[in-house]
Symmetry: C2
Subunit: 333 residues, 2 copies
C-alpha cells in the first residue's frame, strides 16, 4: 500500500504523453495529488502547482510518484539526484518503471538510512495464496476485451466514478501498474507467478457488503494468445457477477500479433460468459464499452446505436459519454 | 538441461509411493538410470541395482536425482550428508522438492567449490520471451483435462512412447517438475511469471520437421478455477494441432474445490477446441484418454466403448491398454 497524497514527478518528460501515468493519477484521483515536480526542460504540465520537495512535504505529500516514462532504459543521474533528495526529505518513492528502484544501490542505501520505502509497482509485494474458488459476498464487475489496450482500465475507473456518484458502494481494484499508482494499491497481475494468479485476484477482492461492487481492472484478452492465461485467471479469480465487453472498432489486427484478427463482440460474449459461469453461475454480460477515439462524433453515436440494437445491451464510450448507463445496468441487476 | 544418466536417490522413503518421481523416471526413461541409492530404512525399491556414489560414477552417472518426497518440510541432515558427498564425487544434483537445493547454504558452497550444478526443477532457469503467436512448423498435441491430476502427464508419455514405437518422430515436452526430471528438461510452467507463460511454451516447442510431433504435457484444467489461466497459456503458447481429452470418471468434484462439479467431456471439447482454434484454426480433437484406475476391467471396457460411440473418437486408458490408438489417430490426421 502506497502512502498518499502524492507529489507527481514529471522529470524531463519530452511531451505530455510521456507523463501519461501522472496524468491518469491527476484525472482519476485529484485528491491524491498535492502538486507536480518538473525538472528543467520538462515539456509535460498537468496544471497542478509546481512545488519543491520541501514545499510538497509541508503540504502533506508522503510519496514521490515517478509518473513519467524514462528514456534510454535507465534511471538517469539527473533523476537520481531528485529521488535521493526526496528520500532525504522524508518521501517514500513509487514507480512503475521497468528499471526497478530496488535495483539501484544508491536508492536502496539512502532508503535504508532514512527509513523510507521504495515501491516498484511492477513487482508483487505480497505472497498470494492459491485460489480456493469459494464464493465471496459482495458483487464484482470485470471488463473483458476483444484485445489488449482497448480501454479496460479507463472503463473501470469511469464506472467506479459513476457508481459512486450514484451513491452505490464501489471500489476500483487495480491489476496493472498504472491502476496501482492511481489508487495506491492493487495486484501487478502480469508479474505474478502462474500458480498464484487467480489467488491474487481472490485476495484483491475479498468478502464485502452484499451491495458493494468491486470494479476489477481487466487485463489482456481471451483472444490475445500472448496474455490470454492472465485474462482467464482474472475471470476465475474475480468470479465476476457482471462482465463489461470492451472494444476498439478501428483496429485491424490484435495488438502486437499481425496475423490475428480481432473477434466480434458476439464471439467475445459467447467465449467469456461460459468461462465466467464456471466460477459464478449467475454471471451476466451487463454492457459494452467502446473506445471511439478514432471515430468522429456522429460515426461514434451511430456505431453505438447499431450495437445496442444488435446486442440488446447498453453501449457507451465512457470517455465521450461517461459510464452512467453501465452503472445503471449494474444497479438494475 | 539436466545431464544424464542419473543415479536415483530414494533416501529413507517410508514406502514406494514416496518415491513416485523416481518410479516415473525408471518407468519412462530406464536408459537414463544407472542405479538407485537407498539409505538405511528405505522402504522403496525400484528394482534397479543398488549402488554407492562411487560405483554409480564409475558406471557413468552424471546427476544424483532426488526422486523422493521429503518429510517434515525440510531437507534432513541425513540426506544432506549424501548430497554433499555426491557433489564431492562429481555429481550434479537435481530435485523437484518444494525446499530448494539453492536455499541450502552448505549445498551451494560445496557446489561452488566443486564446480557442480544444482537443478531445482520447480524454478525456471531460463528468461522466457513474451509469446508472438507466429505459426511454427511441425505438429503439436496437447492433453487437456476435465480436472487437474487426471493423467495428462501419463497420457503424454504413453503417447510419445507409442508414436516412437510406430516410427513417428515425437518428443515429449515436459511442463511440470516430474516430467522435467524424467526427460531432463522442460518448463516448470506453474512457476513462470504470468506475462511469460505462453512464451515459455512457444520456446519449449520450436519449429521442427513437418512430420515431427511435440507431445506437450498438459497442466491444470480450463474448468479448475485455481489454475485455468495456466491451462489457457499452454493452449495458446502450444498452438496444438490436436487435443486429447483427459478424464477420471469416478471423481465427485474438482480436485481441491468441493463446490465445483467436473464438466462433461462434451463440455470440455466445446470449450477447449474454440479456444485452441484462436491460435491454430486447424486444431482438432483427436482422441480421449481415460484414467480407469478406480474401475474394474469390464466396467472400464464398457465405459470406453460407450464413450467412443457417443463422441465418435478413440477412447483408451493408456495405462491399461496403451496409447497406440491415440497415436494412430494422430498419424491419420
Amino acid at each position: 500500500m502506497i502512502k498518499t497524497p502524492y507529489l507527481l514527478f514529471l522529470g524531463d518528460a519530452p511531451d505530455g504523453l510521456a507523463a501519461k501515468v501522472a496524468q491518469g493519477i491527476k484525472d482519476w484521483r485529484p485528491g491524491n495529488c498535492v502538486g507536480q515536480f518538473r525538472m528543467e526542460g520538462c515539456k509535460a504540465d498537468l496544471g497542478l502547482t509546481d512545488m519543491t520537495l520541501a514545499e510538497a512535504r509541508a503540504a502533506g505529500a508522503e510519496t514521490l510518484v515517478v509518473g513519467v516514462a524514462n528514456r534510454g532504459g535507465k534511471i538517469s543521474q539527473a533523476w537520481k539526484k531528485v529521488l535521493v533528495m526526496a528520500l532525504e526529505e522524508g518521501f517514500d518513492l513509487a514507480s512503475g518503471l521497468h528499471n526497478l528502484l530496488r535495483d539501484e544501490p544508491d536508492l536502496v542505501a539512502v532508503a535504508q538510512a532514512t527509513g523510507r520505502s521504495l515501491h516498484d509497482v511492477r513487482v508483487p509485494e505480497v505472497e498470494y495464496p492459491i485460489a480456493d474458488g469459494v464464493k465471496r459476498s459482495g458483487k464484482r464487475v470485470l471488463g473483458v476485451g476483444t484485445d489488449c489496450s482497448v480501454g479496460k482500465m479507463y472503463t473501470g475507473l469511469a464506472l467506479d466514478k459513476s457508481m459512486r456518484a450514484m451513491g452505490m458502494k464501489s471500489t476500483f481494484r487495480a491489476t496493472g501498474q498504472t491502476g496501482i499508482l492511481i489508487t495506491g494499491d492493487g495486484v501487478p497481475l502480469d508479474a505474478v507467478v502462474a500458480d498464484f494468479m487467480a489467488g491474487s485476484i481472490e485476495w484483491l477482492t475479498p468478502d464485502n457488503d452484499a451491495d458493494h461492487w468491486d470494479v476489477i481492472e481487466g487485463q489482456g484478452s481471451l483472444y490475445h494468445v500472448s496474455f490470454s492465461g492472465v485474462t482467464l485467471a482474472l475471470i476465475h479469480g474475480g468470479q465476476p457477477d457482471a462482465l463489461i465487453l470492451c472494444h476498439e472498432p478501428t483496429r485491424t489486427h490484435m495488438r502486437g500479433l499481425p496475423g490475428y484478427d480481432l473477434p466480434s463482440l458476439e464471439a467475445l460474449r459467447d467465449t467469456a460468459l461460459p468461462l465466467a459461469r464456471i466460477a459464478n453461475p449467475d454471471c451476466v454480460v451487463a454492457g459494452i464499452s467502446i473506445n471511439t477515439q478514432h471515430m468522429g462524433q456522429a460515426e461514434a453515436v451511430a456505431y453505438l446505436k447499431e450495437l445496442e440494437d444488435r446486442m440488446g445491451l447498453p453501449a457507451v464510450d465512457p470517455f465521450r459519454h461517461g459510464a452512467d448507463r453501465l452503472a445503471e445496468a449494474l444497479a438494475a441487476l
